[in-house]
Symmetry: C2
Subunit: 415 residues, 2 copies
């Protein structure tokens, strides 16, 4: 198929941004609901395109996991449509007045929420991201400028065609969604360098993608990073609660970024608690320090690398510490600044942990699995930021916006 140059696509995305920014909430919600309807009514076309991607993946000998993520079904398409309808039901963050004041000279200053403009998203494999990202960008008044993986390009283009039709039906520009159709690797690099076009780049992918962005991007970006999440079981902890939260964090969905990867336990309760862990996590591979190994015979020695690793699997590292201070230091040294939890009954321990652990989210007596946009009540999320600029933690519609200062005067000049 013929492909478009990235510069042309960028110009189209940028040109559509003012119209998307001015769209009313009603118009955006209409486009979202229309898109949901069209996705369902055109399921056959999307599935046909997807079948080509899947057969390509099979002939390349991709793993079952990769193919499973790539393969669409009528149910998956209905879920994508449902996601769009849900975004339509969320509050529109546009126009929110963040603050306002009057200066001594009479100038009235307000800070209002406005769209970013063009949001670039680079993602891997899963075609449903096309529709999810589109929905959040649209509702927040932004153009979605998308670059998916080459293996899913037919699916992505088929979905994008449906979504673009929905924009037009709602009276919005088709270029409210621009999909990069040139799947060559060097085009991804060009995409990251569309300065002046892409106002914010959000990568959804693995470490090599992140590394490439750090090296090559010239546009502002938000890193949706790893989650090497810890549970610290304090000397004062309710051990039944700690066990239940450990099992939930480690086993309920081990492959996600807010799953637990490491257990840190105070020496005063290490014997009792690790004996429980041995039983409760019978299916989980355990690696730990000498004190952990002394209590759990099947526990293998943990290396420094183990403590720094996001396993995303049924594997847990364990460290026994002498104090809360040692726990905090260990977590700050080995964590990735995602989500960190303490189980304690002592107010002072909870307060110190909350204040001194440096992470997007710190939890007291709750599972790290709650750290996501849906569970936080944002209705949807575009990712979870582990950087400190702009957005930190789960990112919903509001994190896809920026602000503008509006100053009203009556002819004031500066002395």
């Amino acid at each position: 198929m013929p492909v478009s140059s990235i510069d042309d696509l960028g110009r189209r995305a940028k040109a559509a941004a003012p119209q998307m920014a001015r769209a009313s909430t009603a118009q955006k919600d209409d486009a979202l609901r229309t898109a949901a309807d069209l996705l369902v009514s055109r399921t056959d076309a999307v599935l046909a395109a997807n079948a080509e991607d899947v057969s390509g993946a099979e002939s390349r000998g991709e793993s079952a996991t990769v193919i499973d993520r790539l393969r669409l079904t009528p149910a998956k398409i209905e879920a994508m449509a449902g996601g769009l309808v849900q975004v339509a039901s969320l509050a529109d963050p546009m126009g929110e007045v963040i603050g306002g004041w009057v200066r001594p000279n009479g100038l009235r200053i307000s800070q209002v929420r406005v769209p970013l403009g063009v949001v670039g998203i680079i993602y891997e494999n899963r075609p449903n991201v096309t529709s999810d990202a589109f929905g959040l960008c649209l509702k927040s008044g932004n153009v979605a400028f998308l670059r998916g993986s080459s293996g899913a390009i037919r699916s992505n283009l088929a979905i994008a065609a449906v979504l673009r039709d929905a924009l037009v039906k709602a009276g919005l520009p088709a270029d409210g969604l621009v999909m990069v159709d040139d799947t060559r690797r060097e085009v991804a690099t060009q995409f990251m360098r569309q300065r002046g076009v892409i106002d914010c780049l959000i990568p959804r992918g693995g470490r090599s993608l992140i590394a490439s962005i750090l090296e090559n991007a010239t546009v502002p970006f938000i890193i949706d990073g790893d989650g090497n999440c810890h549970l610290y079981v304090d000397a004062s902890a309710d051990l039944s609660m700690a066990e239940s939260i450990l099992v939930n964090g480690k086993t309920q969905r081990p492959s996600v970024c807010n799953a637990l990867e490491s257990l840190v336990v105070h020496r005063d309760v290490a014997g009792d608690f690790l004996a429980r862990v041995d039983v409760a996590l019978a299916d989980v591979e355990l690696v730990g320090d000498e004190r952990a190994q002394a209590t759990i015979s099947r526990c293998a020695p943990a290396t420094d690398e183990d403590y720094a690793t996001e396993f995303l699997d049924l594997k847990l590292s364990i460290k026994v510490v002498d104090s809360l201070t040692e726990a905090i230091d260990h977590i700050n040294a080995t964590g990735t600044g995602h989500s960190e939890a303490i189980i304690t009954t002592e107010l002072a321990a909870a307060d110190r942990f909350v204040a001194e652990v440096d992470a997007a989210a710190v939890l007291v007596n709750a599972s790290t699995r709650f750290v996501d946009g849906e569970e936080f009540g944002f209705g949807a999320e575009i990712g979870i930021s582990t950087q400190k600029l702009h957005a930190r933690g789960p990112m919903g519609l509001r994190e896809l916006t920026t602000a503008k200062y509006v100053v009203h005067g009556a002819g004031q000049i500066r002395a």
Copy 2:
């Protein structure tokens, strides 16, 4: 002099961050006031170091402007001290609860303001930035990791020594301020790549510095960019007000980023208004389109480059437009997203301009010169962001912070 490796300095900065983040407001204010006192009492030592930098600059044949910016005087040192005392009087942004809510499952979520950690600042020439940046970083609970220019290194190190002493006297770590003492160019590049150490990099300098950051930085950064600021004089404008604001914006301080660089005027008032401009801006070089040249005989033709240029000098580009729409399009096409103003008496024109001009600040009937931290009431500023992520517009203490989600539960696990 012997220099420290950037990695060592980075480790020291990072190690000091937790203690700086935990410092009480009283302790930080004490350090600021002590630093102000010490700067004044050690004026001779700072001036001696500065004299060496100045004589170096003179022997290299630097321009009078460069030497003027570099040279310190007792009055300049007192002004630096006064700046620190003023920052001590500002409200501490730390711990502010940005928002909070309770989820249906009883989880209590709050979002609280916390320091960024290590703020890296690269700046050129002016040694007073050492103390200004230190003051804002300290008050916001951050470590200041500073890299000044080689031409000011002796001044910067002398000032830093004083400020570090003040930190220690206030019971804070000296490494709350870390100054890079290796002035080789490649070290600036290493500085921009201290990922995991620098949480936010703010460049204070010209285009080559910005370009180098876009190419080389792997740490998150905020661009303090150019200001190609426009004044649009609407058909309905009060022309006396327009004239006064034009003169203020163009001539009050032409070398700063919020000065006016371009006049856009509606054709209906172009004849009358440009005749006034010819007189009012007698000392200003004018370039313009054909209609501007027809009214002002001394007005030279403007090139596309003129319209895109931040002159920072007594020069103004002029464009006559047929409509508000054309004005908005021209401003969005040639502006740098800094500060843009309209002079109008029509509500609808003001509203459209405010909504559709894409800039950090949009002003109605007021001078663009008001767009800075001091004039906005922030008490001090670290720069003016022209990017859309994290901070947009004047950046005060609050923009040197990030947020942390704090989640309190009673044993909740995810179903």
